[in-house]
Symmetry: C2
Subunit: 259 residues, 2 copies
DNA sequence: AGAGTGTACCGTACATTGTACGGCTCAGGT
DNA sequence: ACCTGAGCCGTACAATGTACGGTACACTCT
């Protein structure tokens, strides 16, 4: 990173901002809300690392340093952005638990919703230390996602673990998808073009020791032909989720058998 | 980010570097190998974003720009670093499949090994577009991790999907763990201190609408008391892995039943 | 109405980054 | 002995986050 020390975001300051009722328009109409909105728009198109305070200020027709009267720094700003887009997932905290299909349907719904935000705002993956952004919206999201898991015989810790497992899967897969997309954008090459571009180099080196790469060659080729790419994010998401939910099902069955 | 355009790493250039046999000491003893080693050491202690070309050069007692005779840029350097630490996991490609416990034991071993690298080199999470770093070491790693999955009745695509599922879980959990650690280092507060620090603020705001945060409060508290923290990476890893392998077990049983 | 005061706003400056560019200095071949 | 090419590097530049100190406005109190 560049610039001055970039002073690690102050958790307490972020918290205050998150929970506070900041609604004081100021004399040129500048608001925390407006700043965060502008920043989110910028990040959606260009990514988090391309987001600069100068850009945000310019978009708002405001001097760069004016932002600092409303937001302590870039770190806290990204915390706010995170809370903004990520804490707005559900209309009400019972939306997931009202889905059909019981806990399984609910978790599938949750995975789907999370997937949607993550693909709409890929910069979320670059937000450091999501711990600081524990605002009201995020907490409400947590509440909503826990509800379908209540009353199944799971302990509190197990409920949290199950949820974390599903969310980690979605997050990790979305991240891989985002990186794939970014590679394509940056290089200007589609996934397929890239593959055919490096394929000869790869093949020539592998040829010397085909037995050492027996499975890697076979499976890699199969996957490439099947998805026209090195990976298919959608397939990875659903395949993984199915296995995970199957495993969770066994746990739940075990717990209710005991009782 | 700062500096000049930072010219997106050239995949072909990275590949050549990765597969090539670069071993020409030059007149001041500077080598690609030495550069990568120095960079890895730096990144291990300070993270990827604190790693600068000037730092690497200084550590090697060399002018900054001399690095550019061996490495095209920072992007390709991180690709090389990635290949270096991540492609060195197994002594030989049969190590995972020789583990006791069949495919399940092998996958547990694989997860463990990956976990170890990721916690030793947390900067791996910050390496962008791991696609470019498809070197010989990485390919060998892929081979080694596929072998225990061969001959179980799974299709090639399924083998890849299962492996990806396990690795995504490990990667995601390790990433969460790394962020937790980084937060602690940066703020100087331990996880527990942080929690007790913001707890009153949280409680006071939640108090106004306790029913809206019914489960979030209860479960969050349980988790906090059980782990003395907002999460326990080790527990998340093993809990998740157990569910995932249970789910994979069902798939494998299904496949062998058909045959 | 007039004066005073706090705060929103912002212009400038600085440290730090990646790397383009052009020059210097050697090792090795002829 | 000289030329050539490559390794090495000093300087310059554009971009970053933000510290600092100044300006100008909205509001309160008399």
């Amino acid at each position: 990173m560049a610039g001055r020390k970039a002073a690690a975001p102050d958790p307490a300051r972020s918290l205050a901002l998150l929970w506070g009722s900041h609604a004081k328009p100021g004399r040129s109409g500048l608001t925390v809300r407006a700043i965060v909105d502008a920043a989110v728009e910028l990040a959606d198109t260009d990514g988090l690392e391309a987001l600069s305070m100068r850009m945000v200020a310019e978009r708002l027709k405001v001097g760069t340093m004016s932002l600092y009267t409303h937001v302590p720094g870039k770190g806290e700003l990204t915390d706010l952005m995170f809370d903004r887009v990520y804490g707005d997932l559900y209309a009400d905290p019972d939306e997931p638990s009202k889905q059909p299909g019981g806990w399984r349907g609910a978790l599938e719904f949750i995975a789907q919703r999370n997937w949607e935000v993550l693909t709409a705002h890929p910069w979320i993956h670059e937000v450091p230390a999501a711990r600081n952004a524990l605002g009201p919206n995020i907490t409400l999201k947590y509440e909503a996602e826990l509800r379908p898991l209540d009353g199944l015989g799971l302990s509190d810790v197990e409920m949290d673990s199950v949820l974390a497992l599903v969310l980690t899967h979605v997050l990790g897969t979305a991240r891989a998808a985002a990186e794939q997309l970014r590679s394509q954008r940056e290089s200007g090459l589609s996934d397929q073009e890239w593959w055919t571009g490096i394929s000869p180099t790869l093949a020539s080196v592998m040829a010397g020791a085909a037995d050492r790469f027996r499975l890697a060659g076979r499976v890699g080729t199969s996957v490439g032909e099947h998805f026209q790419s090195a990976m298919d994010p959608g397939h990875a998401l659903s395949f993984g989720l199915t296995r995970i939910l199957d495993g969770v099902g066994l746990l739940i069955a075990e717990r209710s058998a005991v009782e």
